[in-house]
């Protein structure tokens, strides 16, 4: 196993021959399965689970291929390959998802083996992006860069990826299973809205320990995860998680898909009984088989490239002077950057939410540009966020304005991160076979209406999340303002929830009243925001005003006669 971190890809795990051989064999297997389906040797019922295991869904207009971006990390070379796929096999677009993946909406079944072969050529695949298995593990978009981080969660995210990929016990769970991991005390991964949420911090012996949350989730039954284990030692991470998933696999309901997620089991048993079952399973396991020795962890760590964080001594001063000289740049720095652990560096968030645009959609040309900028400014490393944006994690402060100028020139410099325009939206009824209503047009109208950057900054932090159905891919329950599309006799209506949060102040948004017709929804939200601006105390964010005053103060505004 190589330990030359200087030559490994920065921020992600370097595949070895075993990984590459596995992917190659997997592509050959799927090519053969597609051939059998096209020849009529496999029925659709037989073929469907096989294609889903390779990330291929049949959506509203065509097949959709969801490509895994493990813990949101990819390299410039991989992004260029995605651009090629968008250009060659799709309609020039890709769409970043709320699980840090990317999906293509216009894929042909007959092209899919070739696409997977091209992906394998850059160490990518579509495994664990569908089906009732442990899905792509998600992670903090500022991992390994954030000033507030206690330890880099990507090493353990990769360990969990390797543990969970094609895990023979966990390929047919009662339902899908989602894990998120953070190494920061500030929750940027929605840890308590996951089947398992892990928050890592250094333990007394210098090795990581983990707070384990279980049974959280959104969807039809939103539940905040419960704290299951405090300071789980690193060496027991895999054994303990295996015990949790075994208990779920054994006791989780398979008779009713709406009650099949682990959150329902945890609620049904109660956290104490659930913990007892996990502890009993954990106690009878041969822990030596699962022990995560420091040497194993360090072996994985050694396959991650480390950025050479060397910046001029006056890098921060240069950034300060650049900000003073250019008000537009200064605004973008305020909204779209995050403090880096190295004083000469900063993390830049590339908004994939242009005013009036489609959240998360990137063109092939934009993907190529992001790849070029990653090479030029951030060690070839790219991060996809669960907010459907992109992060360049390690940008020298003295070069930040050059980066911004390039982004701005390509329509990727929108200064709206964390503001009204930074809307999470699922593909909705425009693309998704499950959706009841369209999410994207509501997002577009809202972001166009609040496009003025001064207005957005004045309104301040406001998370608007939109889902086109109760499956909640747009995380509406976790939005300060949540919007849920519902179907009423074939027509679209939108239900508003207020007060949700996926961060440290985690909360489930509460329904404010009856669903609104599509053409009244944006006006109602505008009145809601106007009401907040009137009622807020100085410096108070929307969520805080809502919590101080409650829903009643906003309800009249939402349902005011047109």
């Amino acid at each position: 196993m190589s330990t030359d971190t200087a030559t490994q890809p920065v921020g992600r795990y370097a595949y070895d021959e075993v990984d590459r051989t596995f992917l190659s064999q997997r592509v050959a297997q799927f090519r053969e399965q597609v051939g059998r389906r096209v020849a009529g040797d496999l029925s659709e019922d037989e073929f469907k689970p096989l294609r889903l295991m390779n990330g291929l869904y049949l959506q509203l207009h065509a097949y959709m291929l969801r490509v895994a971006v493990p813990y949101g990390m990819m390299g410039a070379d991989q992004m260029r390959e995605l651009a090629h796929i968008a250009r060659t096999y799709d309609r020039d677009y890709g769409h970043f998802t709320t699980r840090q993946n990317i999906q293509f909406n216009w894929i042909r079944l007959e092209d899919t083996p070739d696409i997977l072969e091209r992906l394998a050529g850059v160490n990518m695949h579509a495994i664990q992006t569908s089906g009732n298995c442990i899905r792509n593990v998600t992670c903090d978009e500022f991992a390994g860069a954030a000033a507030d981080e206690l330890l880099d969660p990507r090493i353990h995210a990769e360990i969990l990826r390797q543990w969970s990929t094609l895990h023979p016990e966990f390929s047919f769970l009662p339902r899908k299973f989602k894990i998120a991991i953070s190494g920061s005390p500030h929750d940027r991964v929605a840890a308590r809205f996951h089947d398992i949420g892990l928050v890592a911090h250094p333990g007394p012996n210098g090795r990581p320990v983990f707070d384990v949350f279980v049974g959280g989730g959104l969807g039809r039954t939103p539940i905040i995860g419960v704290h299951l284990c405090h300071d789980l030692p690193e060496e027991d991470l895999l054994a303990y998680l295996e015990a949790v998933v075994r208990v779920y696999n054994a006791y989780g309901r398979r008779d009713n898909m709406y009650k099949a997620r682990i959150k329902i089991l945890v609620q049904a048993l109660g956290v104490e009984q659930f913990r007892e079952k996990v502890d009993a399973e954990f106690a009878q396991m041969n822990r030596a088989d699962y022990r995560l020795e420091p040497a194993i962890v360090e072996g994985i760590r050694a396959r991650f490239g480390i950025p050479d964080l060397d910046a001029p001594a006056d890098a921060a001063q240069k950034l300060d002077s650049d900000r003073k000289a250019d008000a537009r740049f200064d605004r973008w720095v305020r909204t779209n950057t995050h403090a880096h652990r190295h004083e000469g560096f900063i993390s830049a968030v590339v908004s994939i939410k242009p005013d009036g645009g489609i959240p998360g959609d990137v063109t092939a040309d934009q993907m190529d540009l992001i790849a070029d900028l990653a090479d030029e400014f951030s060690f070839g490393e790219i991060r996809v966020t669960h907010m459907q944006n992109v992060v360049l994690g390690h940008v020298r402060k003295d070069r930040l304005r050059d980066l911004w100028l390039r982004l701005d020139g390509a329509g990727l410099g929108t200064p709206n991160i964390g503001l009204v325009g930074d809307i999470i939206a699922c593909p909705g009824l425009d693309y998704c076979a499950l959706a009841n209503a369209r999410s994207i047009p509501i997002a577009q109208k809202l972001s166009a209406r609040f496009a003025n950057p001064e207005l957005q900054e004045n309104i301040g932090t406001l998370r608007i999340n939109i889902s086109g159905c109760i499956n909640a891919c747009g995380h509406h329950h976790a939005g300060h303002i949540g919007i849920l599309g519902v179907d009423k006799r074939g027509e679209e209506f939108f239900q508003l929830t207020l007060g949700g949060s996926a961060e440290n102040d985690v909360a489930i948004g509460q329904i404010i009243g009856p669903a609104l017709p599509e053409d009244e929804t944006v006006d109602a939200i505008a009145r809601l925001i106007d009401t907040y601006l009137v009622l807020r105390n100085e410096g108070e964010a929307f969520i805080d005003t809502y919590r101080r005053l409650g829903a009643a103060s906003f309800k009249d505004a939402v349902y005011a006669p047109a």
Partner: protein
């Protein structure tokens, strides 16, 4: 929905009572997509196996544009769907079901928003709308 002034229409016979079913759970067509009145007219739709594109049952095969679809009385559409499913055993299309039409529309137009989007393309990308061609598969 832009310039399309479609109106809501109450279903009188079959009401959808479930939410959407994630793929992989059931191979049956989501009941929401196969509901219709006792009276009225419907067309039959599916996705093409090889490329997943939406197709509509036309007098001589499957068409990519709804304007070429064969219109059935709702009283006859169930039998037509059964026949189409038998014919599709060759594996040309998947997910066959019927789509209720808007009785007030002047051209062949599905009643529900969902099926209008399937018929006329994503509303957020008019450039991706199906192109009217005389080609029938």
């Amino acid at each position: 929905m832009g310039a399309r002034a479609w109106t809501a229409h109450p279903f009188t016979a079959v009401e959808a009572v479930t939410g959407p079913l994630p793929e992989g759970i059931s191979s049956e067509v989501d009941v929401r997509n196969n509901r219709r009145d006792m009276t009225g007219a419907s067309v039959i739709t599916a996705n093409r196996l090889l490329d997943g594109r939406i197709v509509w049952l036309a007098p001589q095969g499957w068409s990519e544009v709804i304007s070429q679809a064969r219109v059935f009385d709702n009283a006859a559409v169930e039998d037509a769907i059964k026949q189409a499913k038998v014919a599709a055993d060759a594996g040309t299309v998947v997910g066959i079901y019927g789509v209720q039409l808007d009785p007030e529309a002047t051209k062949i137009t599905p009643l529900t928003v969902r099926e209008r989007i399937r018929a006329f393309g994503p509303t957020v990308h008019p450039d991706f709308a199906p192109v009217e061609t005389p080609h029938v598969h």
